[in-house]
């Protein structure tokens, strides 16, 4: 059954790729007139909501309005978009009936300089993980990090700087940009770091890389740069909780308050239990969320009280400073850590071995999936062997559904 599902996924991805190759521009595949249906999608719900933030009183300058309008505003809220599959639908028509199976809801939180778009339609127009997980029977929730995209941001700082209340060099946190050089180097697309823009003209992609490099200018002289549209400058440093203040870094103490993880814990509670997925900048957030009071997981009492039911860390997110009480909590939550190909150092790299050994010693279930070094059956019965060519943006790679199947297989094997 599993292998049949895998073939189906691969065939779907291949068909989508073929269709895209035949089109004059890849972006066109995403438009109404060119939509390639993946088969009917049966939903019992589609929508959005926001997790409560913090009320603040704005000064006249902070409101930025003409004429000035001081008053109440909410900051630190978190935007959540969801799709809920209809129960019992066989979305792919393969007769397996897998889609009627009940999973625990899953929450995806994107990485730095990005938004929930990371999990949606790929830049070359293929199905994203959001729709795929729905089709596999998961209630699927995408959260825009606090301070980013539809979550809004705390604009007071900028108005205070503009209005002369704060100094620009000290009062205004840096704004992190996801430039092409950041992406090519940080996402492990090039065989060497990119130091000259445009990177598609100056840097050689890894042979066999699975990222849709045509969406970052490769092979088309920069005529298609769809991926970069996903970049949203991060305003996290405007928020409280960063350490040191004004940076993109979370607090060193994994149980300390941090905006997005605290809201993820609230969300897990409201959902009555969820698998939390973080990526890159947010890869530590599921663990941080599990250690927030709202999760019900820390300090550990019972499995039913703990609403973080599984942790998936994409591209690391480990700690080497966990306390015994924190280790106790994390040893009760299944944890899967994923890392792609082209790593400059062997994986798992520090601090993951420390966390893995501590949680394993405490009787926990923590697996590190270095994708190009996988051993068949090591994650769950029937899990695949090595897969090559995946990069940092694994959810957008041309085998993204194959990778999703690994996460789903892992969750299923843990009763999630």
């Amino acid at each position: 059954m599993k292998s049949q599902k895998m073939r189906e996924s691969t065939a779907l991805a291949s068909a989508a790729l073929l269709a895209l190759m035949l089109m004059p521009t890849m972006a066109a595949a995403q438009f109404y007139s060119d939509v390639q249906s993946n088969g009917p999608l049966h939903l019992r719900g589609y929508g959005s909501f926001l997790i409560q933030g913090t009320p603040v009183l704005l000064t006249a300058i902070e409101s930025g309005r003409t004429p000035p309008g001081p008053g109440n505003k909410i900051i630190n809220q978190m935007y959540v978009q969801f799709m809920l599959p209809q129960r019992g639908e066989d979305q792919f028509g393969d007769g397996e009936g897998e889609n009627g199976r009940k999973h625990v809801p899953i929450v995806f939180v994107h990485g730095g300089g990005l938004s929930s778009k990371s999990w949606q339609t790929t830049p070359d127009g293929r199905m994203g993980w959001d729709e795929y997980f729905v089709r596999q029977g998961f209630d699927t929730f995408l959260a825009d990090q606090v301070g980013r995209a539809r979550s809004g941001f705390d604009g007071r700082t900028y108005n205070n700087v503009q209005g002369g209340v704060l100094e620009p060099d000290t009062g205004q946190p840096p704004i992190r940009l996801s430039t092409d050089q950041v992406a090519w180097t940080g996402f492990r697309w090039g065989t060497t770091p990119c130091t000259t823009s445009p990177c598609y003209a100056t840097t050689t992609p890894h042979p066999g890389i699975r990222f849709p490099m045509g969406t970052v200018g490769v092979g088309n002289g920069g005529s298609n740069l769809q991926f970069f549209n996903q970049g949203v400058p991060g305003l996290n440093p405007t928020l409280s909780g960063a350490s040191p203040p004004g940076t993109n870094n979370g607090p060193a103490d994994p149980a300390a308050f941090y905006n997005t993880p605290a809201q993820m814990a609230e969300l897990a509670k409201e959902l009555g239990g969820a698998i939390l997925v973080g990526h890159s900048e947010s890869s530590s957030f599921p663990t941080r969320a599990a250690l927030q009071p709202a999760s019900g997981c820390y300090p550990w009492t019972t499995a039913s009280a703990c609403k973080v039911k599984g942790i998936i860390q994409l591209e690391t997110g480990c700690f080497d400073n966990l306390t015994p009480a924190e280790i106790t909590t994390l040893s009760h939550i299944p944890i899967l850590i994923e890392f792609g190909d082209f790593s400059p150092v062997p994986q798992p790299a520090a601090p993951c071995p420390t966390e893995i050994s501590q949680i394993t010693a405490a009787g926990g279930d923590i697996k590190f999936a270095w994708i190009p070094a996988l051993t068949a059956g090591s994650l769950y019965e029937g899990s695949p062997g090595p897969i090559f060519g995946n990069d940092h943006m694994i959810m957008l790679d041309n085998n993204n559904l194959q990778i999703a199947d690994i996460l789903i297989g892992w969750a299923t094997s843990r009763g999630l």
Binding site: S48, Q162, P233
Partner: protein, 360 residues
């Protein structure tokens, strides 16, 4: 008849009613299954925007500890999400354009957790598109001026400010009540969900003082709508508030677009601000519906509609109290009777947008 079942399912997920418990919803009562949303496709993409080089002198690359590098970034792009129903009953998709201080979210779910117009019109058989314009939500923006101020290349006064809607400004500006903290007795706003609404209001990433920045932002939004119209072909544009001006301007920006736009709907959005509203002589070539809620005067919208009719256009102003619908504010898309108003919009489309229905 089953809509309320879907509604209750979704509402249970919304924070507004979280205390009712997600567990009940997740256990999937059987009758939830009776009115599923069946999609042929859904997804999202970006339009417009430009990829621009930000050099070390204009980025914050040199700031310690930030880890950024110079290079190309996308600015001013528009985020677009779509749903296409399996049972398509209309030939022309509807494009939903939000207003200031908002994103596409205003059309996705109401503050009390019910279907917004985006999904409602999908259920009615339309393909639907909703956008996040440049400078908000998942749209792109250009932080250069702010970064230049940070690194001392420009005075802070040159930075764009941030226009933040306060609860007080929203309350009276959106006509939930006559004064902050009081509701109109007939308000259709979900009174228990004010905070749920306030959370979705967000500042544009940047606002220069009027009139410079509004024009700049509207130009970016128009630039995002134009290729969308070109790509999806014949369509109906709906603009709310300042979004009304955006759709008027985009629809009339070329002969091909005038031909493609089969209907223009303004939710308290017409005639739009001067410089962001298209040439009335061109607008008059397209069927136009303007809708105005309660507790305000429809005189401006009516005068605009009259001017379009005088130009030979098929233009209609509906002042909701005149058809017996009372209590709606500026935020009617998110209010308790949003389905009733959607009925009004659909009826207008049926009567005024020729060839809209697939069976015609």
């Amino acid at each position: 008849m089953n809509r309320h079942k879907i509604v209750s399912s979704v509402r249970a997920i919304g924070f507004a009613a979280f205390s009712l418990g997600m567990a009940a919803s997740a256990s999937a009562p059987a009758d939830e299954e009776q009115n599923p949303l069946v999609l042929k496709a859904q997804g999202n993409f970006y339009t417009a925007g430009t990829i621009e080089l930000r050099s070390p002198n204009t980025t914050n690359a040199a700031l310690p500890g930030d880890g950024t590098a110079p290079g190309h970034i996308a600015v001013n792009q528009m985020y677009v999400q779509f749903q296409i129903p399996q049972a398509l009953k209309y030939k022309y998709p509807i494009v939903f354009m939000h207003g200031g201080g908002h994103t596409a979210n205003i059309f996705l779910s109401t503050p009390d957790g019910r279907d917004g117009w985006f999904t409602s019109f999908t259920r009615r058989g339309f393909a639907v598109y909703a956008v996040d314009g440049a400078n908000r939500g998942r749209g792109g923006w250009d932080p250069t001026a702010r970064i230049q101020a940070s690194v001392g290349l420009a005075p802070p006064s040159s930075m764009e400010g941030v226009n933040i809607y306060t609860e007080e400004a929203a309350w009276t500006g959106f006509r939930w009540g006559p004064t902050f903290g009081t509701f109109y007795s007939n308000t259709q706003f979900p009174k228990a969900n004010v905070e749920d609404y306030i959370r979705q209001i967000q500042p544009a990433y940047r606002n220069l003082p009027s009139p410079v920045e509004p024009q700049l932002q509207n130009a970016h939004i128009q630039a995002g709508l134009e290729p969308l119209i070109d790509k999806i072909g014949p369509c109906i544009l709906l603009g709310w508030s300042t979004g009304g001006g955006n759709v008027l301007a985009a629809a009339t920006s070329s002969p091909a677009r005038i031909a493609n736009v089969k209907g223009l709907i303004g939710i308290e959005g017409f005639p739009g601000a001067l410089g962001n509203n298209g040439d009335p002589a061109l607008v008059a070539k397209i069927p136009v519906l303007s809708v105005t809620g309660d507790h305000t005067s429809p005189a401006g919208a009516q005068a605009y509609v009259n001017s379009l009719v005088a130009l030979g256009g098929d233009a209609t102003e509906i002042f909701l109290p005149n058809i017996g619908i009372f209590g709606n504010g500026h935020t009617m898309a998110a209010e308790l009777n949003n389905e009733q108003i959607a009925d009004v919009l659909q009826n207008w489309i049926n009567q005024h947008v020729k060839g809209a229905r697939t069976e015609e």
